[in-house]
């Protein structure tokens, strides 16, 4: 065992010194390799972090949402549906929610209007998110007015703003009182946008959803788990799409490493020839070259991954943000929570080290089978 370890150590020593003898070539290879790892790792880290962000946000949302469907489209739901739902055993609470979107011509942006129930907002006042503050440069005490559904003006006084900590969900929020909401859109009392139902026992959620479905056939029921699943697969899909698009660069990288590995200088060929002349076998030379590849691979992987980590979590992933996140006028400014996932690292390893190793096997073999007499002549 000791002997074996010593042998590997000497081999590693030798390969490191042979790599440092060809500094330019090694550094060039490392640079390309590192940037490939960096590119792929950025995509993966970013989409994983944002997926987690979505999951944490959704963890606090109601278990079941009930929406009324009319002719295949989402419609306002009458308050009497609430009583039917509250009658189902296992339902902890059910309440009507009022929300919608409001286009602001001054900011050329859509706001998300919501009526919070706790704490309530006084009529005529509004609480705005960070994105709205930036778009309208509004401060507490300022007045904002909008045209209601009938053309009349509705005026709001900014009460306070929502802190930036929760910007991911609150950037475009515009919180108003119920009366103002109904006046703005002309929604009669007794109608809600949808109903939020909370269930005490998570294992009963499906049963309760079934009962709601039976009692109120004109509704569609959305479970929190379903929303989570949908987000998950949407982000998976986007990440996968981007990776497939980047497959071209992986292929180019494989070709590049093939070229680099097969373009042996006369110097290197002589080196291998001498090694074989002093008694190295073909297998030993292959092992040496593979070890060199391993050193390059692991350093590039480590450096590339660390760079990607810094890129995503310290510099906001400027390169891929628009593709992975989607785009909007009032986009929140936020920092992602750093998160590294084992599966992701393993996957990345498959995407980079595996193609590199496969691509260099043939050139390495070609180099290793040279006859000493032909190169030393």
């Amino acid at each position: 065992m000791r002997l074996w370890l010593n042998k590997q150590r000497n081999l590693l020593d030798f390969s490191l010194s042979s790599l440092s003898r060809r500094r330019g070539k090694t550094l060039g290879m490392l640079a390309v390799y590192t940037s490939i790892v960096f590119l792929l790792a950025s995509v993966m880290l970013f989409s994983h972090a944002i997926r987690r962000e979505a999951a944490t946000v959704l963890a606090k949302s109601p278990e079941v949402l009930v929406q009324r469907m009319v002719a295949g489209r989402h419609d306002l739901i009458p308050a009497r549906h609430l009583d039917a739902i509250k009658g189902i055993r296992g339902v902890q609470s059910a309440e009507g929610r009022l929300w919608g979107y409001l286009f602001d011509p001054a900011a050329v942006a859509n706001y998300t209007l919501m009526v919070p129930t706790n704490p309530r907002i006084e009529p005529g006042k509004v609480v705005i998110g960070d994105g709205v503050v930036r778009a309208r440069s509004a401060d507490p005490g300022d007045l904002m007015s909008f045209r209601a559904h009938d053309g009349s003006l509705v005026q709001f006084k900014v009460d306070h703003t929502i802190s930036r900590d929760s910007a991911l969900v609150s950037a475009d929020l515009f919180l108003v009182a119920e009366e103002d909401f109904r006046r703005l859109f002309g929604i009669a009392p007794g109608l809600f946008t949808d109903l939020a139902v909370s269930v005490r026992n998570p294992r009963e959620v499906i049963k309760i959803a079934e009962k709601i479905d039976a009692a109120l056939p004109d509704t569609r029921i959305i479970l929190r788990d379903e929303i989570l699943r949908t987000y998950e697969s949407v982000f998976d899909w986007r990440e996968g799409m981007l990776l497939v698009l980047l497959a071209g660069s992986i292929l180019a990288f494989a070709i590049f490493s093939w070229e680099k590995a097969s373009g042996l200088s006369a110097e290197e060929r002589r080196e291998i020839g001498i090694l074989k002349a002093v008694g190295w076998e073909t297998g030993d030379v292959i092992r040496l070259k593979m070890l060199e590849g391993l050193v390059v691979s692991l350093s590039a992987f480590l450096v590339g991954y660390l760079l990607a980590y810094a890129h995503v979590f310290h510099f906001g992933a400027g390169l891929f943000e628009p593709v992975l996140k989607g785009w909007a006028v009032l986009y929140p400014k936020y920092k992602l929570t750093p998160f590294v996932d084992e599966l992701q690292v393993a996957t990345l390893f498959f995407f980079t080290v595996f193609p590199y190793t496969i691509a260099t096997v043939v050139p390495i073999w070609r180099a290793a089978i040279v006859d000493p007499d032909t190169v030393m002549r």
Binding site: D236, E239, A346, F350
Partner: protein
Amino acid sequence: MIFQPAIIALLLASLVGTMMVTASLPFAVRVLRFWDTASGSESQLEMEKRTYLVSTLLVVVLLSELASLILFVFNADRMSSLFVGAMCAVGTLNVNEFGFPTLYLKIIVFFAASAWLVLNHVDSRGFDYPLVRVKYGALMILAPLMAVAAGVQLAYFLGLRADVIASCCSTLFSGATQVTSDKLAAIAPEASLAGLVAALGLVMVAGRRALATGKGAVVFALLSLVAFAMAMEAVVAAISVYVYELPHHHCPFCILKGEYGHVGYALYLPLFAAAALGLGGGIAQPAARIQSLAEAAPRIMRRCVGSSMAGFGLFGAVTVWLIWRSHLILIEPERLLFFLPGGQP
């Protein structure tokens, strides 16, 4: 659901691997037909050189095959959140009929690949390529196996459909019912643990004999496969139950999860390694009859058998530790009084 990073990686690995192995088949045929170390012809020399390429390629491919087995299970577990009713890898693998066959095929490929690697290693110790025909003959079996595994895996991933919100109505009533209980779980924990103890004991006895006399490694290999099967069965029937401390939870995958401290890896890694090495011992022993391997093959065999015994020993130790620290009493203490003072109260 092909556009999922881990799935793309798995498909890439199996595709490249199968292509590489298939591409070396014509060469394997040539070796089987024309190999002749006595000849000094051009083509013989070329073939001798080419064996290095094929061996190196296969080492890389087969190692990736081993890594992809772990990635596959890990990913199956992770994807369970995408399917209604799936709570761990079992649910994900049950989504369509190709899930479990893929896993079984991957395990078979794992053992075949490691057997081939041992064969390759033994062969490389002899100066006159003593096992070259056996090696390339084995490749003829390995190639279709890998192709089938890759195909079934592709079918499995193509058939996966995440349960996402549809625009028309909710999909919640598509409820796939998940059945974890297997025939394996129906075996009584006492019986399965007793079987495991017996199998491990036999393995140890056979291993000691092989180490002492240099004979009986083939028996050891067979026994280690039996012990592997017994151990998997014991994991489902008893060991996992001790970990979860729930008498009716028999899942062999959940023990890999973070909630249980990834303790499954401490069980499976030694077990798989031990079974593969045991198989390797059985392969190395018959090679000792060849003159150029008379010295190397028994040494390799001893090393394989020794490490395999250590692996099984480690598996046994982890099992005992898991049962010991568990708060669950699955078997009435009185029935065990002879040899165990019982678990923690």
